[in-house]
Symmetry: C2
């Protein structure tokens, strides 16, 4: 079964304004409250973050200083991701760290803000900061953009269902 | 009781070669094997890392991908520190991340190498990389250097006892 949204999803706009960052913008056809809920309720996050793969949310302590850890089960293997929340401002902003078990100790800071476009749509802006240009480029060349668009398409479908 | 070493301890040499890093060098009057043991055996780390304060080592999984978490109990309060090991090469090098609970999600990469000086002494070189200059400067102005020298003096005393 494929949601109609899967066929009309816009691609995320990915840019590199500096030498250690990635800037991502994506508009969702849903109000900010609904997008916030889909991004912060573990039962909902499990439905889109893993791009259709099984996602086990081991920790998701959404407050300053809290930790998160997600484990994605793919056909190729199991991948753990984790980090810690730096700031959580309801409906507005989440700043958190991110690392993949495959490169432990290589930490990205993700600053995610939700913008109400006033027409029932929401723009999600993600600014990611890496420690080095090499780590940033490694992420860009990892197939990140394809995976990101798959996750966002799954989020489109979830937002339609909600 | 004060160890004689407390009176002759050299200060750590702290420099800032770039705008997001801190470079620290310190010579210890002990062979590399002994310094490595003092830095990697939890029962020994608890005797110097906390500068004389009680230190509870909650986790210290010294291998690539392992986590560490230390809790220091001072007269002013309890401070948690944690991170993850990126690389552990016996007797030679430890690369790990570091964050303080008071600034969650602000992550430093510490690259520590042990150099055998060939005369029974060991030089410990620590290179710390921050995400931003502001975070680096915040650390420099936090009293880090004084705390570091206290820890290293406690390590001098431990190395003498070992």
């Amino acid at each position: 079964m494929t949601s109609p949204a899967m066929h009309t999803s816009p691609k995320a706009k990915v840019t590199t304004p500096g030498d250690r960052d990635i800037h991502i913008e994506r508009v969702f056809a849903a109000p900010r409250d609904r997008v916030w809920k889909a991004m912060t309720d573990p039962a909902l996050v499990a439905q889109w973050w893993g791009r259709g793969n099984k996602l086990v949310i081991e920790r998701m302590e959404m407050e300053r200083g809290g930790h998160w850890r997600f484990v994605e089960h793919t056909d190729e293997g199991v991948h753990g991701f984790e980090g810690r929340y730096r700031e959580v401002t309801p409906k507005d902003r989440i700043v958190s760290t991110f690392e993949w078990d495959g490169m432990p100790g290589h930490v990205i800071v993700n600053d995610v803000t939700l913008h109400d476009l006033g027409d029932g749509r929401t723009k999600v802006v993600t600014h990611s900061l890496f420690h080095t240009t090499e780590e940033r480029d490694g992420m860009l060349h990892s197939g990140m953009e394809g995976g990101l668009n798959q996750s966002y398409e799954a989020l489109d479908a979830l937002l339609t269902r909600m």
